[in-house]
Symmetry: C2
Subunit: 241 residues, 2 copies
């Protein structure tokens, strides 16, 4: 496509079965940033999506927690799962784990348990934001290099001391675990993953169709500095006034 | 919040009723980029979301059109509407219109009709990508400056000659119509809108929580140049090989 081919795709069969865990209070862009990039890819490469949750009931992205939703807003969307953690095929190849307020709530327990059970058969695990904390709670990041969002860095990393946390990183790859920074960083890790498997030209094409200025360098992260005075608790540090 | 206040919020009552039109084949990030930014805002400012469609049946983001989905992928998510075009309250204040392949399909007709009917009572209309073509088809952009995505620029603008299309723009504001470029540009127009109504500090805080490098200047658009050889038909120009 372009004259300058800067990277070639990995060899080997490309994965086609992609799952995403959804749970109450998952962060919309954590999920739909990566899903957008993969959706663009899926027009030319066979990809099937499994939307996985505890039950088949719609999953709401918003939160009613008054500490987080101080204004009493009703600002979420209901997403319909296609499979439960019990019914999803066990030949899933890629698993996306978004974060969000719900990733730090007690209702995350079944998702943690699913990741623990599913990980040994996965080819790739991709986490966004504090989705890394969910994967860490499942033990699958123990001894691995990983990153997470920078706003709640201290809280998240303190709760998972067995992970080799990397602060100044838009995303980190260690083995088959691709972990990214907060929210929007999920787009960059997904483009990086597409680049690795499908070639950089394809990743660039996907980014361009999305009219997204790809943060291409995984080792540079503006927000490691923006959030240098990161906060210790959810809801405690996002001061608007 | 920051020492340097570069813009102040608009005066007047802030809007609280936000609607988004969803239709088969709407582009996920067109919707969930703006919704993410508004969700962040909604923790401190009362905002209620109305997810509006032709019926209350779940709306699928993917497409089975073999010209667009060449690989035969099954890569969409089902979203649950909260209201139909008939039942949504008529005091809606803000309407978001995403684009996507479905915005160019015959099934978009009820959405066009809804925008035509709803627009006179709206305080703000925000479009993303070829959501502008849907608004243009409803006639509400006639005589106004507007932008849309750059990949399908010729096709979209040719079909709506009564709009004063602005090519090199991440987003354009004319009166109460905020129109943006392709997909990711929806995040920038929403941050711009937040900045105008709630002040730049709040918009910056939202962008930082999202760990998103805000494309702050509406008059600069990388993709007006990246897609300088834009294509004439959907599915015809996105060459991967």
């Amino acid at each position: 496509m372009s004259a300058q081919k800067t990277a070639t795709a990995s060899s080997g069969a490309l994965p086609s079965k992609v799952g995403i865990t959804v749970f109450p209070g998952f962060e919309p862009l954590d999920a739909f940033g990566p899903l957008e990039a993969l959706y663009m890819l899926s027009s030319n490469f066979k990809l099937d999506l499994y939307v996985i949750a505890s039950t088949l009931d719609p999953v709401y992205t918003g939160t009613n927690d008054p500490q987080l939703n101080k204004a009493g807003s009703r600002f979420g969307v209901n997403i319909v799962p296609t499979h439960t953690y019990e019914t999803v095929p066990d030949d899933l190849e890629v698993l996306l784990v978004p974060g969000g307020a719900g990733a730090a709530a007690p209702t995350i327990a079944p998702t943690v348990e699913f990741i623990r059970r599913a990980y040994p058969k996965l080819r790739y695990l991709i986490t966004v934001c504090n989705g890394a904390a969910v994967a860490a709670a499942a033990g699958v990041l123990d001894g691995k290099r990983a990153t997470t969002n920078k706003l709640y860095w201290k809280m998240i990393t303190a709760s998972s001391p067995n992970v080799n946390w990397v602060r100044t990183a838009r995303y980190v790859v260690d083995g088959n675990c691709w972990t990214s920074g907060g929210v929007s960083a999920g787009i960059d890790v997904t483009l990086g993953w597409i680049s690795k498997l499908y070639g950089e030209d394809r990743a660039r094409t996907v980014a361009n169709i999305m009219e997204y200025e790809w943060r291409h360098d995984p080792n540079w992260d503006t927000f490691a500095y923006v959030h240098r005075d990161d906060v210790d608790v959810f809801g405690g540090g996002v001061a608007f006034d």
